[in-house]
Symmetry: C2
Amino acid sequence: MRGSQAPTLEAVARAAGVSRSTVSRVINDLPGVSKRAKLAVDRAIAELRYVPNQAARNLVTRRTNSIALVVSERGDRLFSDPFFAKILRGVYAGMVGSRRQLVLLMDQDRVDGALESYLCGGHVDGAVVVSLHRGDPLPARLMEAGLPVVLVGRPLEDVNVPYVDSDNFTGAVEAARHLIGLGRRRIATIAGPQDMAAGVDRLNGWQAGMVETADMIAYADFSVEGGARAMAELLQKYPDVDGVFAAADIIAVGALRTLAEHGKRIPDDIALVGFDDSVLATTTAPQLTTVRQDVEELGRTTTQHLLAQLAGEQPLPSSVLLPTKLVQRSST
Amino acid sequence: MRGSQAPTLEAVARAAGVSRSTVSRVINDLPGVSKRAKLAVDRAIAELRYVPNQAARNLVTRRTNSIALVVSERGDRLFSDPFFAKILRGVYAGMVGSRRQLVLLMDQDRVDGALESYLCGGHVDGAVVVSLHRGDPLPARLMEAGLPVVLVGRPLEDVNVPYVDSDNFTGAVEAARHLIGLGRRRIATIAGPQDMAAGVDRLNGWQAGMVETADMIAYADFSVEGGARAMAELLQKYPDVDGVFAAADIIAVGALRTLAEHGKRIPDDIALVGFDDSVLATTTAPQLTTVRQDVEELGRTTTQHLLAQLAGEQPLPSSVLLPTKLVQRSST
DNA sequence: CTGAAAGCGCTTACAG
DNA sequence: CTGAAAGCGCTTACAG
């Protein structure tokens, strides 16, 4: 189908004995074509194996039929963490039947504003932006440029960009209450990165869920090593800690490693709660009690939100929170 | 930058006091433009915040500056497995500096040949195809249509499509030799799906590496559950098994679960070797001895192969095998 | 070094 | 229901 031999609309029209207008109408399923004409065109299309040239189409319609998934992440987190794959699957699921293509853009495209140029240069009809960090000007810029955007995850800035997020706060409240309910008295948290909403909201939720003082806090990025280090820090500062809420399963995995090294029994000596209910939660020993968030649903809902916006549907709620839920296993 | 107010090349030309031809030459870095003209054009572009319309460009150049990553996988494997994320990262790394965009296409796009139409309809300049299963006609079809394609993973059919793969065979040979070297006498394998080259080649390698008879075989798909079931099957048929080569870490995770349920000590009773050296290998207890393959490198090399082909470089070797290597940990 | 003109392959009023 | 014609925003010989 490539090269100069690719049949054009013109060729189809000749073969079918009609005008280009008629062929175009058939291709686009527009009304006002006789059965006879449609039949002839369909036959010619099949015979010539005609495929419309998308570039020509885009040029005149000023639409691209594709949307971007922008992954605003520099490091390895999204790849060592099943989070990203699930988002991707959800986004894909959300696009089913939309006849749109997904263009994947990553942080490295930021070199000399290439990302912004690309997004604003009419290459895509809209964008889903994932994994924003505090202070990222991208969402505001895209809004200014008039590009429809929906974020996965609450932005930390006070920008008026629609988003979909898990209810991190409530999930973390539940985690704290669960540990308290088990009779634990010395409960700590390993908080996630504070330049991302997930990190901030889970810390706030934990603090809100603790009835008494909540000041046994260590910080980690979303990695095994970070979790291991933070757990070591907690053990040193608070030797009597008997409950820990880790802001992500991957952090909990690191914490488990450190706890094993220190000969702590889980949950006897220390009860541990994670967050995510990722595949990690059931591959550890003991399996993790954790707060489930449906990441795939997050991707799907965000995408549907964007598509609805593109379809010009009634103004949707500007943001959506998806429920989270504690899942008990053997680590508590 | 969207909407009818977006500046065109024409507008830039007027603002700079030159012709459209000259502006086009400046944008495309073509020779034969006076410094004076270039300066004026650059200023006008900056002032108007001009971004070239890609659709118009594609139409006339017949290039899209994008390549497709086709993930030929229906089920959940690619998402419950870190494999896909690593491939994706590798592909991205391979594209750095190529000024091309990545369009991600998945199996669901196959509905009424939409995938093939899309790929052959001039939307992309070439494609990387991952995770092929036996009997998939896609690679041959794309080749016929003249679309440059490179596969991640050896195709099982005898098609003349270039590919890049890990040396699964040699890695599996090493795994078998390792178990033999440890003095194990009753060595089994949990083979992967036999409709994929990775499954076939790892089984063949294991058989080649075994000096004596190699007939203790169970099969699993690339999943925890599959691994658990296959391990149960092996234990029942061969109660004296003392070594197992699992064709993937995720299969080994399932095997570990079953072994724990049966009260088997690892590695004392049974030594276990995985394949991949994925993140799973170090989150299990005990940590897995496994065959390392560099999946990210796989994605990167494949992409560079494709880009070289697009650049019309000298004919490259039609296929490439990347080395694999045994990594010993505590499961053997 | 520069510009006028043709043309890429479609869609879309417009007139019939 | 149908077709002739204009035009989307670029690139690319071609002539100067």
